[in-house]
C-alpha cells in the first residue's frame, strides 16, 4: 500500500517535471526541471530496493551532470538566460507530437499484448558486498571488464572534450 502511494507520487512528480521541462521556453527552468526528474528517478530506484543505484544516480547524475549543463548554459546561451524566450514553430510541434504519439501507441500496444510473469520477491535490498564483488570480479557474469572499459572510456571522453573545446591558438 505504501509502495503504491509512493509510486503514484513519484510518477506524477517525474512526469509533471518532464512535461514542464520540454515545454518551458526558458532554458534555466528546463535544467531545473531536469534536476527534479533526476531526483524522481532516484526515488524510483529507492522504491525498487536499489539503494546503491539510487545513491549513484543522485551523486553522478543529479550532482555532476546537472552542474555540467548549468555551466554550459552559462557559457552558451547568454542571451537566452537574460529572459529571451524561444519560439517554437507550430508545425514542428505538431509533427513531433504526432511522431511521439505514434511511437507511444506502438509501445503501449506491445506492452499490453505481452504477458509478464512477476516473481515474488522479498523486500530486502541487494547486499553491498555482492555488488562490490560482482563489480570487480573476473569470473563469469562479473563485471570487471566493463568497469575497466568504462574507466578508460571516461578518460577518453574527458580528453576528447578538452581537445574539442579548447581555444584555438591564433598563430
Amino acid at each position: 500500500m505504501a509502495n503504491t502511494v509512493m509510486f503514484i507520487i513519484l510518477a506524477v512528480f517525474i512526469l509533471g517535471s518532464a512535461l514542464m521541462c520540454v515545454t518551458t521556453t526558458r532554458i534555466m527552468r528546463a535544467a531545473t526541471f531536469m534536476l527534479f526528474v533526476l531526483f524522481g528517478v532516484a526515488g524510483i530506484y529507492f522504491l525498487l530496493d536499489y539503494t546503491f543505484l539510487g545513491a549513484a544516480q543522485i551523486s553522478v547524475y543529479a550532482g555532476g551532470v546537472t552542474m555540467i549543463y548549468v555551466f554550459a548554459i552559462q557559457l552558451v546561451s547568454k542571451r537566452t538566460l537574460q529572459g529571451l524566450e524561444e519560439r517554437v514553430k507550430s508545425s514542428k510541434m505538431i509533427a513531433g507530437g504526432l511522431a511521439a504519439l505514434a511511437g507511444l501507441v506502438v509501445v503501449t500496444l506491445i506492452l499490453l499484448k505481452t504477458g509478464f510473469y512477476t516473481q515474488e520477491i522479498a523486500n530486502v535490498e541487494v547486499p553491498m558486498k555482492e555488488i562490490g564483488m560482482a563489480l570487480v570480479g573476473s569470473e563469469k557474469y562479473q563485471y570487471v571488464l566493463p568497469f575497466e572499459f568504462i574507466s578508460v572510456f571516461l578518460l577518453a571522453c574527458i580528453i576528447g572534450g578538452l581537445v574539442v573545446a579548447r581555444k584555438e591558438d591564433k598563430a
Binding site: N3, A11, L15, A18, L19, C21, V22, I27, A30, A31, M34, V37, I44, L47, L48, Y50, L53, A56, V60, Y61, V65, I68, Y69, F71, A72, L75, V76, T80, E86, R87, V88, K92, M93, G96, G97, A99, A100, G103, L104, V107, T108, L111, L112, F116, T118, Q119, I121, V126, E130, I131, A134, Y143, I150, F153, L154, C157, G160, G161, V164, A165
Partner: protein, 102 residues
C-alpha cells in the same frame, strides 16, 4: 507490489516526452536535456525488469550503472561540441548549423 506494467508505462511516457522535447526544441542544450530524459527512462526500465522479473540476477542494475556513467561522459563531449559550434556559428540554435542542406 506494484505490477511491472506500471513501471513500463512510466518509462514509456518519460521516453516519448523526451523524444518530443528533442524534436521540438531549438536550443541545443535543451535538446541535450531531452536526451537525458530518454536515457533515464531507459534506466528505469532496466531496473524494473531486473528487480521484478529476474530478481536472481544483477545484470539490469549494472547496466543501469554503466548507462549512468556513459551518459555522463557523453554529456561532457556533447557540451564540448556545442561550445565549439557556438564559437563558430555564434548561435545556440540548431537552425544555424544547416551546412549539409542539399
Amino acid at each position: 507490489m506494484i505490477p511491472v506494467e506500471c513501471y513500463f508505462a512510466l518509462s514509456a511516457l518519460l521516453f516519448f516526452i523526451g523524444v518530443y522535447g528533442f524534436v521540438t526544441r531549438r536550443n541545443l542544450i535543451a535538446m541535450l536535456i531531452s536526451v537525458e530524459l530518454v536515457l533515464n527512462a531507459v534506466d528505469i526500465n532496466f531496473a524494473a525488469i531486473n528487480r521484478l522479473l529476474y530478481p536472481n540476477g544483477m545484470e539490469g542494475m549494472f547496466m543501469t550503472l554503466f548507462v549512468i556513467g556513459v551518459a555522463a561522459a557523453e554529456s561532457a563531449v556533447a557540451i564540448a561540441i556545442i561550445i565549439n559550434v557556438y564559437r563558430k556559428f555564434k548561435s545556440d540554435s540548431v537552425d544555424a548549423i544547416q551546412n549539409m542542406k542539399g
